[in-house]
């Protein structure tokens, strides 16, 4: 089972994940050429970039400064979400084994701490969804599913690393759910990992290049 998941299933996962994202972006790009001329007519890389950068910096926008705690949780959540899997020693060993190349690895103790930070932030975001009326009213069952899908790989990875509970099972669940998450990304709101850069550019140009107004 484990061999299958880390073998053929992994190839399929990465193909769907990367291929899916590429297809989605290419499709939207094609559509935009035909139906979103407003963007190209006023395109300005400067304004697009400023719009992106201000929202990549914690508290870099008025909106984020108005919600400081949420911003903190939301940034830590995203940093850990990307950072831990990419720079985890155990993952990099697998890359190295398979292809002889790998990224820089962080010490396991960091990864451990960051995973806890991630889980705390995720719990915060989940609770916020339930508690804040203006967030709850927007939330659908799918939104809860997606955040839980995001949490499971971290929780199972954490348990497997500490060998709490049945190790084999945890590891299999970890790999399986990570793959499910990666496959879901291109077909869901999680596609924002790429699309965010485009939507931010659009509003940056619309407000900035056309009117000089800052969208942050």
């Amino acid at each position: 089972m484990y061999a299958f998941l880390t073998g053929p299933a992994l190839w399929v996962t990465f193909t769907i994940f990367i291929g899916g994202l590429i297809i989605r972006v290419v499709y939207l790009f094609g559509l935009s050429l035909e139906r979103d001329k407003v963007f190209y007519n006023h395109m300005s890389f400067g304004w697009a970039l400023r719009s992106i950068i201000h929202w990549l910096i914690p508290w870099g926008s008025v909106s984020m400064r108005n919600q400081p705690i949420f911003t903190l949780a939301f940034f830590l959540f995203h940093i850990c979400l990307l950072g831990v899997p990419l720079f985890l020693n155990a993952h990099n060993l697998l890359w190295d084994e398979a292809f002889g190349v790998s990224l820089w690895s962080m010490p396991d103790s960091w990864a451990d701490t960051l995973t806890i930070v991630f889980l705390v932030c995720a719990a915060f975001l989940l609770v916020r969804r339930l508690v804040r009326p203006e967030v709850r009213i927007l939330t659908t069952a799918w939104d809860y599913t997606v955040i839980i899908l995001t949490i499971i790989p971290f929780a199972t990875g954490f348990l497997a690393y500490h060998q709490w509970g049945p190790y084999e099972l945890m590891l299999i669940l970890h790999v399986l759910f990570s793959q499910i998450l990666l496959i879901v990304i291109p077909f869901s709101k999680l596609g924002h990992m790429i699309l965010w850069f485009f939507t931010r550019s659009v509003i940056g140009v619309e407000m900035g290049a056309r009117r000089g107004a800052r969208s942050w």
Binding site: S32, F39, P133, E134, G191, T199, M207, R210
Partner: protein
């Protein structure tokens, strides 16, 4: 096929839309049947990369809620959060692939006109920069195509179609009003003229239809300023109404026709620029949205569109208009940034620089500039009429509190809608303020050079 033909279908469909709206306006009856085919066409035509991405990436974080004055003014009712308004209207239309019924559209009507002024503040507070207002406008286009439009707006559509202006004023009446103002204001300022249809002038001055209709002195005041600045200007006999309520009614074909009236007249007269009166949405229409209603290449108007705020600032900066220092306003003054002049027009600094010339004690509202809250009367809200008045007063509370907090006695605003709304809020919340436009203040306190001083004795010396 696609692009060209699709556009054609789109236009045809909008042509038909035109008729259905006028029927409604004449006798406001329940729409007979919902044409889902038409709705699907509109949804498809608008389903570009932007709307698709916006609808699919919204992470339901709720950050937009705090940016919306409807939400803030109504006890943070979560149903008033911008994302929820889209979720229950346009997103739902797409989800049902246009298969919606009259009841659903009626519910949408309540949200997209009654709970949003398309001020676009929320798009600056969304981490994705989702342009909610554009989506609300699209939902308005869908409702409008089925004749579901606030009566106040539908009525203006009939007038626009028949006379080219929202108040249904005839060309003769308009020209007569200009002449009347020329005579009357001419007594106060020597050499004042209000040229109509003058070829090749620098500016073609367009107004809000309520000026010739109810406040003709506004035209007189502008004529004074332009005369003292020795401007080369004219007023057009047609296309003079720069307002565009069809834009807010969701009737994009008519909205395009309205701007076209103005563009065409300007091109016919061979003027250099179109000058817009102190009106917010007129500027948004002529300078930003108009080219898209008409599908103009490059998305730019055929000639430069200038807002009065910009022109007044230039006059003061260049000394073409001088303010009498003794007459500068002494009372505390605040500035209401109209959404479509500031956030959506980029003129917030010009507005403040003008006030520097006019007043000693300026107190900015918080928030301000492009972050300012809508007054609550924008997006067609005021002309939508009494049906919406209660809600307008309730959601205007945010603005009323902003004004109160400044302690100002005068609120300056270069927009007719803000002007009316703040006057209403003034009564409702007993703010004790006076609302003024720039031209009212400038004409009152500018220095009138000797050559324009009216002659004491009636002798008509041609050149002194």
């Amino acid at each position: 096929m696609s692009e060209q033909e699709e556009k054609l279908t789109n236009t045809n469909e909008q042509e038909e839309k035109v008729t259905s709206t006028s029927e409604i306006a004449e006798k406001p009856v329940e729409p007979k049947k919902i044409n889902t085919q038409k709705i699907r066409e509109i949804l498809t035509a608008n389903s570009g990369a932007r709307i698709r991405s916006w609808l699919s990436v919204c992470s339901r974080c709720g950050l937009c809620a705090e940016s919306c004055f409807f939400y803030l003014a109504n006890n943070r009712d979560p149903r008033l959060s911008p994302a929820y308004k889209v979720k229950t209207t346009l997103a739902e239309m797409y989800r049902r692939k246009g298969e919606v019924d009259a009841d659903f559209l009626k519910k949408c009507y309540d949200v997209i006109w009654g709970e949003c002024t398309t001020c676009r503040r929320c798009s600056m507070y969304c981490p994705f920069g989702i342009d909610i207002a554009t989506m609300i406008a699209t939902a308005r286009a869908v409702c409008c195509s089925q004749g579901i439009v606030p009566e106040g707006l539908a009525r203006t559509s009939v007038n626009y179609r028949e006379t080219g202006n929202q108040m249904g004023m005839s060309t003769e009446d308009f020209v007569e009003t200009c002449q009347w103002m020329e005579t009357e204001t001419g007594e106060e300022l020597k050499g004042l003229t209000i040229p109509v249809d003058k070829q090749g002038a620098k500016y073609m001055y367009t107004v809000n239809a309520r000026e010739p209709m109810y406040y003709p002195q506004d035209i007189g005041m502008m004529a004074k300023i332009l005369t003292v600045a020795e401007e080369d200007w004219t007023m057009p006999s047609y296309g003079w109404d720069c307002t565009n309520l069809a834009m807010f009614a969701g009737d994009r074909a008519l909205a395009g026709q309205i701007v076209k009236n103005t563009y065409d007249k300007a091109l016919e007269l061979g003027v250099q620029k179109i000058l817009i009166t102190e009106c917010g949405h007129a500027y948004r229409s002529a300078a930003f949205e108009g080219p898209y209603f008409l599908g103009l290449p490059g998305g730019k108007p055929p000639l430069e569109v200038v807002h009065s705020v910009r022109l007044f600032y230039e006059y003061l900066r260049d000394g073409r208009i001088k303010i009498d220092p003794a007459k500068k306003l002494k009372e505390p003054v605040t500035y209401q940034d109209p959404c479509n002049v500031s956030r959506n027009g980029g003129l917030w600094e010009e507005g403040r620089m003008i006030i520097d010339y006019l007043a000693d004690d300026f107190r900015d509202m918080i928030p301000n500039r492009e972050h300012n809250h809508c007054c609550g009367g924008g997006g067609g809200y005021i002309p939508m009429g009494p049906e919406f008045k209660l809600r307008r007063m309730a959601s205007g509370r945010v603005k009323a509190e902003q004004i109160k907090a400044t302690g100002a006695k005068i609120v300056i605003t270069p927009c007719h809608n803000c002007y009316d709304q703040i006057n209403d809020l003034n009564k409702e919340y007993q703010l004790g303020v006076k609302v003024l436009s720039f031209k009212e203040i400038i004409t009152e306190i500018m220095i009138i050079p000797d050559q324009f001083q009216p002659d004491e004795n009636d002798d008509e010396g041609d050149e002194e």
